[in-house]
C-alpha cells in the first residue's frame, strides 16, 4: 500500500536558553560531517562549539553570542544529517534567531556568511543590551487580554509582546526593571509559569531600533542568493523573496515573532509534518499547543532520526 506523501516544513528554532549537554558519546563528537562543520566554525569564527568557548578574539564574556553560535551550528549539522538521510523540506519556517540557519539551509546565504552574521549581529545586540539594560520573560497560562493589561499597567517600562507563541504562551520584552515587575504580576494573576529568559537584550521590540542601522551595515556585506527552499515570513505570512532578506534581517529584531499565525497559515497551506531542526523540541511543543492534530518531530530527540524515513517524504510541493 502506498504511503500518503507528507508535506514537510523544517522549523529552525531560536537561541538555546542554556549550553547544551554534549557528552563524549553525543553524535556531534563522533560524526565526520559534524566534526568538519565544528572545525570550519572554529576556523572562521574563532568559536569552539564542543567546548563552548572562543579560542580567539575577545568575545568570551558574551554568553548569548556563544548560545547563538551553538544554536546555529547544531541546527545546520542536523539539517545536513537530514539531507544525508534523503529528507528534504518543502518549506522552511524559523523562530527568532533561527533565521540565520534557515537562510543557510535555503542556500540563500552560505554557511560561513551565516556564521559570521550570527556572531557579529549577536555582538551588536549584546553590546546594546549592556547599554540599555533589557530583559525578556516567558509567560504561560495567561490570555492576551491579561498580558496586555499588565503591559498597560507598567506603562513607562516599555514592555512589549515579543513572541506570539500560542493562545496562552507569550514572551515579553522590555527594560530590565519592567520585566522584574512583570513576573510577579503575571504569577499573581494565575500564570502557570512566568520566568526570565537568558537574553540580556529586549529582542523583538522597538527598544532594538537604535541598532537597526548597524545591523543593516553588517547584513549589507553579505551576498544574498535566490532561495532554493522557500522560507516563510511570519510577519507577512508569505514567502520571503531574495530582495526582502536584508531588510528582514535588519528589522526582525525590532518586530515580534508571530509564531502561532505562522504555523496556522502553513497548516492551511497544506503542511502535514513539522520537523524541528535543532538541539531541542521547544517548537514541537509550541506546535502541539497550536494544532494537536499535526505531526511533529524534533531532530534533537535522539530516537527521531530512525523514525524519519525517506519513503515517507517527497520534494513535490504539490
Amino acid at each position: 500500500m502506498r504511503r500518503e506523501r507528507e508535506k514537510i516544513c523544517f522549523c529552525f528554532p531560536g537561541q538555546l536558553q542554556e549550553r547544551p549537554h554534549l557528552p563524549v558519546h553525543h553524535p556531534l563528537h563522533g560524526d565526520g560531517l559534524a566534526r568538519e562543520i565544528c572545525e570550519e566554525t572554529l576556523r572562521f569564527s574563532g568559536f569552539d562549539v564542543l567546548n563552548f568557548s572562543f579560542q580567539e578574539g575577545d568575545w568570551e564574556p558574551y554568553y548569548n553570542v556563544k548560545l547563538q553560535l551553538t544554536s546555529y551550528v547544531i541546527s545546520l549539522i542536523h539539517y545536513y544529517w537530514l539531507q544525508r538521510e534523503g529528507i528534504f523540506p518543502h518549506v522552511i519556517a524559523e523562530h527568532s534567531m533561527g533565521i540565520y540557519a534557515a537562510l543557510a539551509a535555503s542556500e540563500s546565504i552560505d554557511f560561513r556568511e551565516g556564521l559570521l552574521l550570527t556572531r557579529d549581529i549577536g555582538l551588536v545586540i549584546e553590546k546594546w543590551a549592556r547599554e540599555i539594560g533589557g530583559s525578556m520573560c516567558l509567560v504561560l497560562g495567561l490570555g492576551m487580554d491579561q498580558i496586555e493589561g499588565i503591559r498597560d499597567r507598567l506603562d513607562g517600562y516599555r514592555i512589549s509582546i515579543a513572541n506570539y507563541n500560542g493562545s496562552r504562551n507569550f514572551v515579553l520584552s522590555g527594560l530590565r526593571e519592567g520585566i522584574d515587575r512583570v513576573i510577579p504580576l503575571c504569577l499573581d494573576m494565575g500564570a502557570v509559569a512566568a520566568h526570565r529568559l537568558t537574553f540580556s537584550a529586549p529582542l523583538h521590540c522597538d527598544l532594538m531600533e537604535p541598532v537597526r542601522a548597524e545591523i543593516l551595515g553588517l547584513v549589507d556585506r553579505i551576498t544574498v542568493r535566490e532561495l532554493r527552499v522557500p522560507v516563510f515570513n511570519h510577519m507577512t505570512l508569505s514567502f520571503l523573496k531574495k530582495e526582502d532578506i536584508k531588510p528582514f534581517l535588519a528589522g526582525e529584531i525590532c518586530r515580534p515573532v508571530y509564531w502561532e499565525g505562522c504555523v496556522r497559515e502553513l497548516v492551511r497551506r497544506g503542511v502535514t509534518w513539522f520537523i524541528e531542526v535543532g538541539n531541542d523540541d521547544t517548537l514541537c511543543k509550541l506546535i502541539r499547543w497550536i494544532d494537536r492534530g499535526i505531526k511533529t518531530t524534533a531532530t534533537g530527540d535522539p530516537s527521531s532520526m530512525g523514525k524519519l524515513r525517506p519513503d515517507e517524504v517527497s520534494r513535490d510541493a504539490s
Binding site: 516567558l138 504561560l140 497560562g141 496562552r168 504562551n169 504569577l187 499573581d188 494565575g190 500564570a191 502557570v192 509559569a193 512566568a194 520566568h195 521547544t282 511543543k285 509550541l286 502541539r288 499547543w289 494537536r292 511533529t296 530516537s303
Partner: protein, 99 residues
C-alpha cells in the same frame, strides 16, 4: 482513619486513577515512545525525571481541567501538584468537581 480525614483522602487515590493520569500525561504531551509502565508513580516529572518543562505543565493544567474539572490556580500550587503522578492524583481526589 484520622481526625483530619487526610488518610481517608489518601485512600481514595486508586491504582485506576494513577493509570488514568499516566495515560493523560502520555496523551496530552504526545509522548509516543512512552508507556504507562515507563512512568514511575513517585518519579519526578520535571527536570531529571520525565524531563517535562513549563510548556508541558500548561498542557497538563488544561488536561486536568478538561478531564477532571480540577483547576490549578497558580504556579505555586502547580509546583506542588506536578511533583509526581501520585501528587497529581492526590490533588485530583482533593479537588475533583470544585473547579
Amino acid at each position: 482513619m484520622t481526625e483530619n480525614g487526610w488518610d481517608d483522602k489518601m485512600a481514595e487515590v486508586t491504582e485506576e486513577l494513577i493509570l488514568q493520569l499516566k495515560k493523560l500525561i502520555i496523551e496530552r504531551l504526545k509522548l509516543e515512545e512512552v508507556t504507562t509502565e515507563d512512568i514511575g508513580t513517585d518519579d519526578p516529572l520535571f527536570g531529571e525525571g520525565l524531563g517535562l518543562d513549563s510548556i508541558d505543565a500548561l498542557e497538563l493544567v488544561l488536561g486536568l481541567e478538561k478531564d477532571y474539572g480540577v483547576i490549578i490556580p497558580d504556579a505555586e500550587v502547580g509546583q506542588k501538584v506536578f511533583q509526581s503522578v501520585r501528587t497529581i492524583a492526590q490533588y485530583v481526589v482533593d479537588n475533583r468537581g470544585t473547579g
